[in-house]
């Protein structure tokens, strides 16, 4: 429609604004920036604003929202993006990970797939800074990209019934941390003692879209000590 963006009505209670359909930091930054602007309007009736890889969805109550006005605001916003807003305002977050053994049961399989040692898989995984493109699937689950193609192992043929919370995993170009015990189909290479989501915190999700994440290897002793502190209620993360 304008500025490479399209505004699509999604039924009578949501509007989607889409940018070019690919996974790209600058496209994602535009989506996040638009989401923040929509939030700043504090439009009556808007229930939720949900950014994704290349889009922002605005959920609204059609009874209480002036939809025509909201659409016009969106049309103006996508043609006149604020250049200073294009810079990412996300935080940098380091996530400690104990790789391999029972905490990362698929590490050796990933190493075999990549035809390298487990140590090299860990080195590749922890060398990069990853962008948080979006959250979804579960509370606090973030889609991080992109993984070095040499370790970008596809999903498991058969998903696991039980993946423990904190599991750090790879699926193709994506990596992420399971925030809850859940079924899951990604390869598990390690585990973090951090709580990725805690509804009782003022900021429940550790990560937000636009943040930058690095993984730091930790040994088992550190992991156990950190987990113990967390479980006794001293964890602040």
């Amino acid at each position: 429609m304008s500025g490479g963006a399209t505004i699509v009505r999604a039924g009578d209670s949501a509007i989607v604004v889409r940018f070019e359909e690919r996974i790209d930091p600058s496209i994602n930054a535009r989506a996040l920036q638009l989401g923040k602007r929509v939030a700043s309007w504090a439009t009556t009736g808007v229930r939720d604003i949900v950014p994704a890889f290349h889009s922002v969805t605005v959920h609204y109550d059609p009874i209480r929202t002036n939809v025509q006005h909201l659409v016009e605001q969106l049309e103006r916003a996508v043609v006149a993006e604020e250049p200073e807003g294009m810079a990412d305002s996300g935080r940098s977050i380091e996530i400690p990970v104990c790789y391999g053994d029972d905490l990362g049961p698929d590490l050796s399989a990933v190493a075999s797939w990549a035809n390298m040692s487990a140590t090299d898989v860990v080195a590749f995984h922890s060398a990069r800074a990853y962008r948080v493109y979006m959250l979804g699937f579960l509370p606090g689950f973030s889609y991080l990209g992109t993984v070095d193609e040499r370790i970008a192992v596809p999903r498991l043929a058969t998903p696991r019934v039980h993946v423990p919370a904190g599991s750090v995993a790879i699926a193709g170009p994506q990596t992420g941390v399971y925030p809850l015990d859940t079924p899951g189909g990604w390869h598990l290479i390690g585990r973090t003692p951090l709580l990725m989501f805690d509804a009782s915190r003022s900021r429940p999700s550790l990560l937000a879209a636009g943040d930058t994440v690095t993984f730091r290897p930790m040994n088992r002793t550190e992991y156990d000590r950190f987990s113990g502190l967390r479980d006794r209620g001293h964890g602040t993360c």
Binding site: A10, G11, D12, H59, L135, S205
Partner: protein
């Protein structure tokens, strides 16, 4: 006065629900809340609760509840045989219970889900601003789960008000499947251009069956396959989902996303159920037939406005 109620038998799936946990989807938190929002609001109005008070949502097979003090109770939505200490109670209306009263759900007559409002509301602690239960993430409600026998639920302080009788016009608010296919209105969706040109026509050509793999997250349907346009990929880059989205996985069999839907998804959305018909959709049970019918956004909003006017009138009387 605040009190409790006891769960004698839990029924198939009885959960605490309210208007939903809005505002946290960007952190991946599902909305949840009452599947049939109209029945939820009407039940609250009938017992004098503020809109949005937490109620119990009963699914297919109802519970048996014991009360410990004087309350008003209203059951709206799906019709069950309901008795209090053996005396039959009418659906879609309020009735009093007292200390030791046992409210028992019997046979299900019509619909799939009922909202049980109790004056004072269910007073479980809110999580991220809502008391709604999301079972798969164990969030909200009573310990993040469906009720089991022996649970004791906290109740809030009821408003000082006599039983409310609503005008007959409000009866039309609760919409339940009757014999034959249930007509549900849909608006073309945000990925309609990814499907074969006749996909909307195919969708409306014959009824779909609600399969047993249907739950609070979504209704998996079975019927005429909906095909992606050959030139387009059969999946879209993940983006936000929304209530009533009719998403189509590669097998062509649509899934209607409901209250507990994940916040994001990657299947293309052919059509969206009109908000005014979400409550009706929530009343479909496995094996029921649904017939989709195209409607414009304008007509969808008109229906919703008419529904809202009746609900606001009921809520205003409840607050009087």
């Amino acid at each position: 006065m605040s009190g409790t109620l006891s769960v004698i038998r839990p029924g198939l799936l009885t959960t605490v629900q309210d208007g939903g946990r809005w505002g946290w989807q960007s952190s991946g938190v599902p909305v949840s809340g009452a599947m049939d929002p109209v029945s939820h609001r009407l039940a609250n109005a009938l017992v004098g609760n503020p809109p949005g008070s937490a109620t119990l949502e009963v699914t297919l097979l109802g519970p048996e509840l014991e009360f410990h003090d004087d309350r008003l109770v209203a059951v709206c939505g799906a019709e069950f045989e309901i008795s209090v200490n053996g005396n039959g109670m009418p659906p879609q209306s309020a009735f009093p219970v007292g200390r030791g009263s046992r409210c028992r759900f019997g046979s299900r007559l019509r619909g799939a889900r009922a909202s049980v409002a109790i004056s004072g509301g269910i007073a479980v602690p809110p999580v991220l601003g809502s008391r709604a239960t999301h079972v798969t993430t164990r969030m909200g409600g009573y310990e993040g789960r469906a009720l089991v026998a022996g649970d004791t639920l906290p109740l809030g302080k009821p408003s000082e008000r006599e039983r409310l009788d609503l005008p007959a016009s409000t009866n039309a608010l609760v919409r339940l499947p009757a014999a034959g296919p249930t007509t549900v209105r849909v608006i073309p969706g945000p990925h309609a251009d990814r499907f074969e040109e006749n996909a909307m026509a195919v969708l409306q050509s014959a009824p779909y069956t609600v399969t047993p793999q249907s739950n609070r997250m979504g209704y998996r349907l079975e019927g005429a396959a909906l095909r992606s346009a050959p030139t387009r990929a059969s999946f879209a880059l993940s983006e936000a989902t929304f209530h009533g989205a009719l998403q189509v996985p590669p097998n062509g069999q649509p899934i209607v996303l409901m209250a507990d839907r994940q916040t994001t998804g990657g299947y293309p959305v052919l059509a969206v159920v009109a908000a005014a018909d979400i409550g009706l959709t929530a009343q479909l049970a496995p094996g029921d037939l649904v017939m989709f019918e195209h409607c414009t956004e304008q007509d969808a909003v008109s229906s919703l406005l008419a529904q809202e006017a009746l609900l606001i009138a009921a809520e205003a009387r409840g607050a009087a």
